[in-house]
Amino acid sequence: MQTTPNDYAIIRPSDADGGYENSRSDLWLLSALPDPIVAFDPDAAMIVHANAAACRLFGWNDAAQRPLADLVLDTGADTLLNDLRRASVLRRETHVTTKGQLFSVESQRCGSDVARSMIVTIWRGGPSQTTLTPQGDDFVATVSHELRTPLTSVKGALGLALSGAAGPITDKTRSLLDIAHRNVGRLMLLVNDILDLEKMSSGHMAFDMNRADLRDTVAFACEANSTFADEFGVTLDCQIPSEPAMVIFDADRMHQVMTNLISNACKFSHPDGTVRVKLDRKADGAFEISVTDHGIGIPSKAVSSVFDRFNQAGSVHRNRSGSTGLGLAIVKTIIEEHGGTIALSSIEGVGTTVTVAIAPDKADCINRTSKV
């Protein structure tokens, strides 16, 4: 195949300091690909590269260093921009339409050094693949509706029967209804968790990222879970610093994270135990939330798999119902969506500490991106 100088010119290293320097053959390869490819610098909220197909699609004659606003989409812009904004290593897929054509856009962060990394998007679909449909959203919404509707009736019917609304019930009947009621609740949790995971892994979970004080979320989570702790005879010791902890995060999702970590710590504590929830700032500026218990711990050979789905680390719950073994898998996904890290250390018979680290709101670039 012949290349012309034009092919090289269409995509060119845009960064004067050579941050994204590519070899000529790499560039040729990119521009020869039939699918549009657009690379973004998430920190600068700029488009840094576009291959020939992308230039054709968007009508650009020069791809270097464009603002995000040049990416004109009919639908799906919010989700795509959300994906671009997130400092995630995960690969995600979004559906957008532009110029009346439907595209499936796959975004992936490239480069190991987060500071210099970029997000590359590959656009598939367009004129030739008209059968492509944005099924992801629909699928989750449909499954969620189909599963929850019968569960709503079952749970409601049992709840009403138990309340005596339909007349008196014998003790034996009550204990049977209790079992059914408890287990339908458990099924509900499972359905919610599975749908959460599905939404997150397919990129359909909308994160509502805002700049806020992490102290409020941590304190609120302790308060909200104190009744649960009481049930296990556990005391929550919430240690919050006096300095604000400003971070860009989704408060609901972070509450979900805290609830899971605190509930785990309580479930696996001994009665009269204490669970310490601590927020503080590390030397590198990141905020760290740790949840420490002095409970049964996790066998060393099981520690590495606690973040897997449906893993229950072989431990004996003090309250088995209401557990799906999906909690930590969801927690890990949420934290990674926030560009944070999570670690668990545990000694069997001594206790467990889970530590979450989240970078502070260092750049306003995220706000800039969101305004596009």
Binding site: H145, R148, T149, S153, G156, A165, M188, M205, D208, D252
Partner: protein, 125 residues
């Protein structure tokens, strides 16, 4: 007594909501299985509050609300959506539609009546 119009396509859920609301002795309840039939009876029934499922065949809850709001006598009736657990963004979108509350499914039949009365308060005050 509070006149409540309940629109829900699932007959089992309709029955449970009916039983739950009858326990409190404060509601006169009219139930419809979809948007079109609700549009037919709403004006005559003149409800004090609307309880609408979101995902329904023929017409979604929000679509139904838009149509009901076009009736002068129904333009200010407080509306409550009932839906499977929603994300914050979806909940906000429903509230932006002019709902006074969004009740998550599965709802608690024991507290349903109180939740509705609580949600109606700012609108009736």
């Amino acid at each position: 007594m509070i006149k409540l119009l309940h629109v829900e396509d699932d007959s089992d859920i309709r029955e449970i909501a009916l039983l739950a609301l009858q326990m409190s002795d404060t509601f006169i309840i009219q139930q419809c299985e979809d948007g079109p039939s609700a549009l037919k009876c709403a004006v005559e029934f003149a409800p004090d509050v609307l309880l609408l499922d979101v995902m329904m065949p023929h017409m979604t809850g929000p679509e139904l609300l838009t149509r009901l709001r076009q009736e002068p006598t129904l333009s200010h009736v407080p509306a409550i959506f009932m839906t499977a657990r929603v994300q914050m963004a979806e909940r906000r979108a429903l509230m932006d539609q002019g709902a006074v509350a969004v009740i998550a499914k599965p709802f608690d039949p024991i507290t349903l009546a109180d939740e509705i009365k609580l949600a109606m308060r700012p609108a009736t005050a």
